[in-house]
């Protein structure tokens, strides 16, 4: 059972190596915690989990005017319309002492708050409804809606907002014009024949145009074989993402550990003792796997305790997927130790691998050719597996493909390492 002594010795060495402890345990937390706090439980795309609609501040100087209310209702179908703001937000924007905000409920204060938000890229745009907006429309006069935006902000979001606002405004204009035309027709009906007059009365008794169903209706359908997808929120993206990324730093750890053993001459000494070569290597690999499992336990534990990260219902699947991931990273580390690659050179491929594997942001945001390259990264499959368990509530059967792929990676690298490994090679 000499391998247990090697296992314990490697753990002892890691505990004495501050740089290694920082890399394996503190760095992932240094990414996970600030990003999770910053995005505040939003989804993996940076939006709020509870409300996926884009916010649009609307400052309504028209009060309860029919058209302005109708416009706001129409905007509210697609957007999260904001007409008032919290005192906390005003404080953060530095407006708590502003004279316009002496009365926090005043429209002037709301407009100032909304403009500050747009300037600071907190919102893609805002709408101001001027006083007399509804009256002007009812009297058939021209009026103006103000759409205020930051030219340096997100152009895509701004265009989305602009499209919705223009559509809602066009709907109001069209409805009003049609209703006015109808009224004109009715006033002229006294001069019309009896049959035509009756037809006009029927139309007048019909629901208002604005209340009628549109001629073209929009129905959403999905293919029959489609499995509804759930997308990760910020925690479900960040915690497993950076955990997977830093589990692969086991490669650098194991590479350095093997190189040190060669450099210090401890491999030579150990080979002159009764321990067998498989036991010696087995002890080292067991230590790396144990460290990886502890890494994942700490990261997920922190995610669960601090952010309420859902870990899914299938604990066995979570354990086996983690074991496959850690085994894969360990096998690659052994292969790197078997070759002449130095641990310093490994940092760049480890970061690029994590990037392509979707550890830093969702792979959906990448162009398709990068997503294809990402499929060759074990990170991708580990992350898909974790998100299947945590986000979609899947079980062991559904993540078996990911476990299989990770073990396949492990087998290939382990086979290469065993063929190539030389204990006595000069470091």
């Amino acid at each position: 059972m000499n391998w247990i002594s090697v296992f314990m010795n490697d753990l002892r060495r890691v505990m004495k190596d501050r740089a290694e402890l920082v890399t394996l345990f503190l760095l992932p937390l240094a990414f996970i915690l600030p990003i999770s706090f910053a995005l505040g439980g939003g989804d993996g795309y940076g939006m709020t989990a509870g409300n996926h609609r884009t916010e649009l501040p609307v400052i309504n100087y028209d009060g309860t005017g029919t058209s302005s209310v109708s416009l706001i209702d129409s905007l509210g179908e697609s957007l999260d319309v904001e007409q008032s703001f919290s005192a906390d937000l005003r404080d953060r924007l530095g407006l708590s002492g502003d004279p316009d905000c002496a009365n926090a409920q005043s429209l002037a204060c709301s407009e100032k708050t909304a403009r500050a938000l747009v300037r600071r890229s907190g919102r893609a745009g805002m709408v101001v409804i001027p006083e007399g907006f509804s009256t002007a429309i009812e009297q058939g006069q021209k009026t103006t809606l103000i759409f205020y935006y930051d030219p340096a902000g997100d152009a895509t979001r701004r265009m989305q907002l602009e499209g919705v606002v223009k559509g809602a405004a066009a709907k109001i204009s069209l409805t009003t014009q049609l209703n006015q035309s109808n009224a004109q027709m009715q006033s002229l009906s006294t001069f019309a024949p009896e049959a035509f007059r009756q037809s006009l009365e029927q139309q007048a008794n019909a629901p208002a145009l604005a209340d009628q169903q549109p001629a073209v209706q929009f129905t959403e359908l999905t293919p029959s074989s489609y499995v509804p997808q759930s997308y990760p929120d910020t925690y479900q993206q960040t915690v497993p993402g950076y955990t997977v990324m830093y589990v692969f730093f086991l490669i650098a750890y194991l590479n350095a550990s093997i190189r040190e053993e060669r450099h210090f001459g401890t491999f030579r000494r150990l080979l002159s003792t009764p321990i067998s070569r498989p036991a010696l290597l087995g002890g080292k690999l067991a230590a790396a796997i144990f460290i990886g499992m502890v890494q994942v336990a700490i990261m997920f534990g922190m995610g669960y305790l601090m952010f309420g990260l859902e870990l899914g219902h299938d604990w066995l699947a979570l354990f086996l997927l983690t074991l496959a991931l850690v085994t894969c990273a360990t096998a690659i580390g052994l292969a790197s130790g078997a070759s002449r690659i130095s641990s310093g050179i490994l940092t760049a491929p480890l970061i690029i691998g994590a990037l392509l594997g979707g550890c830093m942001f969702p792979v959906d945001l990448m162009p398709s050719f990068l997503r294809t390259i990402g499929l060759f990264m074990p990170h991708t499959h580990a992350l898909i597996g974790y998100q299947n368990l945590m986000v979609r509530g899947y079980g062991l059967v559904e993540v078996l493909p990911q476990i299989g792929i990770l073990l396949l990676f492990a087998a290939v690298f382990f086979f290469y390492a065993v063929k190539r490994f030389d204990f006595l090679e000069e470091a």
Binding site: S5, K16, L271
Partner: protein
């Protein structure tokens, strides 16, 4: 008759067509300190590596207490101790943790292991610093822990591979004393490799001189030095003068005289020849040579006398200096 602790027969290790160790044979008796003396790259460490089961020989056999190191490697490993040339220790761990770990590799545990660790720490006088990380030690202290690790399982034969390289005089003396004590008090057999002839001369009962993978001589230090008689005199001349060489070789105080190869001269430089003279008695030979050179009207470019020691024995046998 003393038992043979180690016997090496016709040992060969080749890398491709290049032999690193070429037909090496020797034995070590129980309780003997045996030296392998040779320059860097002579094949000393390769020989020790094969004896300590690190890699197999290309051909030849090695037995320790009659056990073949290839067929019964585990049994052999339990009775040999190795102190490698590199400081084979974990620098971030304490001396005590290093020793515990290496002790566990030999199957030691519990109170037996604890007792052995304390015993070897005391032996190398490192008990006071035993809980400090090895990386905080001086070079000499590291060497002492390196020695302690080789002794942790109380081996029957100890292999010390260049144990004093880069060591301060105080720690070097400590290592010498440790080797002498191990041999004297515990009767431990020791194979000691070095390229320092003073160490070999002080510590070893017998010495094998090794060069380019071959053993060129094996004997006690006294007998090896006696090969040179009264020492060696190197005489620099303008050019080779065969009648002069023959006349010197015929002098009563001279054993032999032979030309040494000299490097190609630089353009404009005088083409010197060097005559190596083995003397029966150095002072008499020197006077006789000087008289003869004067009589022959030959110009003497340089003269160098070498004391009769292992360094000059090595030079005599290989034509090279030990530290070349």
């Amino acid at each position: 008759m003393p038992e043979k602790m180690l016997e090496v027969k016709n040992l060969v290790k080749s890398y491709g067509s290049v032999p690193a160790v070429n037909d090496v044979s020797f034995y070590i008796e129980t309780g003997e300190v045996f030296g392998l003396l040779g320059p860097n790259g002579a094949g000393k460490s390769t020989t020790i590596s094969m004896i300590t089961c690190l890699f197999p020989p290309t051909s030849g056999s090695i037995t320790v207490l009659g056990r073949d190191v290839q067929k019964e490697a585990n049994a052999v490993k339990k009775i040999i101790g190795v102190v490698p040339q590199d400081l084979a220790l974990y620098p971030t761990l304490s001396a005590r943790n290093n020793l515990r770990f290496f002790g566990e590799m030999y199957g030691l545990g519990g109170s037996e292991l604890r007792a052995r660790v304390e015993s070897v720490l005391e032996y190398v006088a490192m008990t006071d610093r035993a809980n400090d990380a090895v990386k905080t030690y001086s070079g000499g202290m590291k060497r002492r822990i390196n020695l302690a690790a080789g002794l942790i399982h109380n081996p029957r034969i100890l292999f010390l591979d260049e144990p004093t390289v880069g060591v301060d005089p105080q720690s070097r003396n400590h290592i010498f004393e440790s080797v002498e004590r191990l041999n004297r008090e515990q009767g431990m057999s020791i194979l000691y490799t070095t390229h320092y002839m003073e160490e070999a001369e002080r510590l070893c009962n017998r010495i094998a001189i090794i060069d380019q993978g071959r053993i060129v001589a094996i004997d006690t230090p006294k007998n090896l030095i006696a090969m040179l008689g009264g020492g060696i005199i190197k005489i620099g001349l303008k050019g080779e003068n065969e009648p002069l060489r023959a006349a010197i070789a015929g002098l009563p105080a001279v054993l032999s005289a032979a030309w040494l190869p000299v490097p190609e001269p630089e353009p404009g430089q005088i083409n010197r020849a060097v005559l190596k003279v083995e003397a029966r008695q150095a002072n008499d030979a020197l006077i006789q040579i000087l008289n003869l050179v004067s009589e022959k009207d030959e110009t003497l470019m340089s003269i160098e006398t070498l004391e009769p020691n292992l360094e000059s024995v090595f030079l005599h046998l290989t034509g090279k200096k030990l530290r070349e």
